[in-house]
């Protein structure tokens, strides 16, 4: 029976391209036979791909600091933990290390602007030296001059300035939490990022302003810095220079750890790695949800059409044609849903509330994420078709024709 049926193909019209074309047409027609069902499934897929892309984008944004770090920058901090400062007196010693081109320093200033909800990162830094180490911060020269000339001056990122509607010359008052007192700053410059992933939500002000105030209010805290930012001549010097700096302060009261900016940023990301892991798992769970939905739709459609498949088989179409029919429909649904989801993801990133985006500079759906989203959608389409396609190919003609409804 099998062999004979195989030869039965001879009876079919020969011109194959035309037949394939017909199959395509049939696939297309099948797709919209239940317009409501098709559109609901496509909508579901679109929502899933959208959620998948958004989750991936948020996870990627977590790593934005790591991505934006330069191999030419090292961070020297207290070996105990970042909570402990280093003496400012380390500066000349670090400057003398061979291979070091520039050294700047900064302190994390945990100040409150208006109230706690208006959080943004603030640094008391050695200006303008600290900014010189970051060539990706673009500052108009006249603003930079104004910043250097005013000890109470500060510089904010473009997005931060936009968020609060700051303009040059505006007064910004920060109330210290760790360092007591009020710091009245004046916005003298606004930087823009050279790259899209550059963080434009930071604020820097003069370390000297903080230090001079501390000398009066709390001399014990004065002349200390949070970390040194070290610029090196070449990337391959990172390891020897780090070892050299750490050796300088070995067995001192404030031992140091020097690492590349990337490793330093990675340390922050690692702290929340469990949450990131959960978000990754969840992003695949949503793909699981939608795969089940699509598989269900395909299984229902295939079951309803068993009679038709039997007719097609009787006409001489081979099981692979039937499988192709089902697979094609599934892939088409998946592709439509995937493209719709991707199209939605671009405006969706824009409507994130500002209190979310402030933590994630450069929230942008990357081409890799889009490609991954589409690939995953198509893979879902393929996988969802397997079971129904297998069933359709296995069905006996007589049995299927006998079945009603």
């Amino acid at each position: 029976m099998n062999g004979a049926a195989g030869k039965g193909e001879l009876l079919l019209p020969r011109p194959f391209p035309q037949k394939n074309l017909k199959m395509l047409k049939l696939t297309w027609r099948n797709l919209f036979r239940h317009p409501l069902r098709a559109s609901l499934t496509i909508l579901g897929l679109a929502v899933a791909v959208l959620a998948f892309c958004l989750l991936r984008t948020v996870v990627a944004a977590w790593y934005a600091g790591v991505e934006a770090s330069s191999p030419l920058r090292l961070v020297t901090r207290n070996a105990i933990s970042l909570m402990y400062p280093l003496p400012l007196a380390y500066l000349p010693k670090i400057q003398n290390v061979a291979g070091v081109t520039k050294v700047a320093y900064a302190y994390w200033f945990e100040g409150i602007y208006i109230d706690k909800k208006h959080f943004f990162p603030q640094f008391a830094a050695s200006l303008p030296g600290y900014l010189d180490i970051y060539p990706e911060f673009l500052i108009p020269p006249e603003q930079k001059l104004a910043l250097v000339q005013d000890r109470r001056g500060c510089i904010a990122g473009r997005r931060l300035a936009q968020r609060f509607g700051w303009r040059l010359g505006d007064a910004i008052t920060l109330t210290g939490t760790y360092f007591k007192g009020e710091y009245r700053l004046i916005l003298r410059a606004v930087y823009t990022g050279k790259e899209p992933e550059t963080d434009e939500t930071l604020l820097f002000f003069h370390y000297d302003y903080l230090n001079e105030t501390l000398k009066k209010t709390d001399p014990k805290q004065a002349d200390q810095v949070g970390w040194f930012m070290v610029q090196i001549a070449r990337g391959d010097l990172a390891a020897p220079v780090s070892r050299h700096i750490d050796a300088l302060f070995k067995n001192s009261l404030a031992e140091t750890i020097t690492e590349t900016e990337k490793a330093f940023q990675m340390g922050f990301v690692e702290m929340t790695s469990a949450i990131l892991m959960a978000m990754r798992v969840v992003s695949w769970a949503i793909i699981g949800v939608i795969m089940i939905v699509l598989a269900n739709t395909m299984a229902m459609s295939a079951r309803e059409r068993l009679g038709e498949y039997a007719v097609l088989k009787t006409l001489g179409f081979r099981p692979r044609h039937l499988a192709g029919l089902i697979l094609g429909e599934s892939l088409l649904l998946a592709a439509l849903g995937g493209v719709a989801g991707l199209a939605l993801s671009i405006p969706a990133v824009r409507v994130f509330p500002p209190d979310v985006t402030q933590y994630f500079p450069g929230l942008e759906v990357s081409p890799q994420t889009q490609l991954l989203g589409l690939t995953v959608a198509l893979a879902v389409g393929g996988l969802a078709a397997i079971l129904p396609a297998y069933r359709a190919t296995q069905i006996g003609i007589a049995q299927a024709l006998r079945k009603v409804g």
């Binding site: 239940h34 409501l36 069902r37 609901l40 499934t41 909508l43 579901g44 929502v47 899933a48 959208l50 959620a51 989750l55 070996a79 105990i80 933990s81 970042l82 909570m83 402990y84 939490t177 760790y178 067995n251 001192s252 009261l253 031992e255 750890i257 990675m266 340390g267 690692e270 702290m271 929340t272 790695s273 469990a274 949450i275 959960a278 978000m279 969840v282 769970a285 949503i286 699981g288 949800v289 939608i290 089940i292 939905v293 598989a295 269900n296 739709t297 299984a299 229902m300 309803e304 009603v404 409804g405």
Partner: protein
Amino acid sequence: MGEGAKGRSPWPSPHRNLVIMPIPLSYSYRNLLTRRLTSFLTAAGMALVVFVFAAALMLAEGLRQTLVATGSFDNAIVLRAGSETEVQSALDRTQAAIVTAQPEIAMGPEGPLVASEAMVLINLAKRGTGRPANVMIRGVQPGSLALRREVRLIEGRWFRPGSTELVAGAQIARRFVGAGLGEELRFAMRTWRIVGVFDAGNTGFASEIWGDVEQLLQAFRRTAYSSVILRLQDPLAFAGLKARLEADPRLPVQVRREVEFYEAQSRRLADFIRMLGLVLTAIFGLGAVLGAMVTMYAQVGTRIAEIGTLRALGFPRHDILLAFLVEAGLLGGLGWIIGLVPAGLLNFFTLSTVNWASFAELTFRFTLTPGIVLKSLAFGVGMGLLGGLLPAIKAARLPLLEALKAP
């Protein structure tokens, strides 16, 4: 029963208001059983959503419970005014001495139940990955142990006062290089030996290392404690103590109940997890609702003749509506069961992440509460009902004659 049978008249109008038996429940669940694969797939989709929903709530709840359990109701914590965490706070010796001499403090077998403590955050490398994380070191006094009812030694011995010995919480000993029993840590120009491991149940203390406060202060060249913890003789005396200490011009302090203090520590991270979980499950839920809708529309589509028969038998439209809604609700309920079982198994898993309030690593467990069980039930059934509503309305509004004519 007989009345009900009479009520099933094919003639709608005069008998409508008589007692009509609704479509039996078994009609709905038998329909689900007949189309096993479809029912299962639809329920499985919703189950995944229920799972994520429950897991997010369990995580936030676990975090909250761990920190709430860290505090004791009759303990009070004294911090410098304006400090949110112990690490930020500083109380010098004079201030601490005034606080420790208050009359409300309970007496233990070995003296008053009060301790001046110091907190230090240090960077330790995790076992396995070698990645650093912040760990809290708590400098403690003899009273500290009695103040924490959950803390008990499980291995080794307690540190000797005046020595550079440390005792590690069970979670830390297991997960950090150099923090296991008999191992050594090097920081602040000294070498510290771990001489014991303590168990602190499901509390934040399990993620801490304890040592002699005087040794730690000296090593870090500090003179000020971080906080003073005290047990109240009478928990009701809290308000009086708080008012008196905070009004004392010598003391720039705030007094809080320990439970409230630790719950506040959990708030930011727990809110974040809960928010993230809810936003995600809302999106997921939409996908699953669409899936349920597809299934229920198909069910209505294949059962038109059946619906017509039911209508001809005298079942009114709202009974049809109800039958399909019940079917959809049952699907959601099934999804809830399938999803909650693996979520319940998560109860045995712990997770550690940095707590944003204290900036230190904290280990906590997924925690399933009856509230979460009910919430996820409402969520699962709600998804089913939402997905089934439009198809059920379609079924109820089918014109009787055309429905009967359907093949």
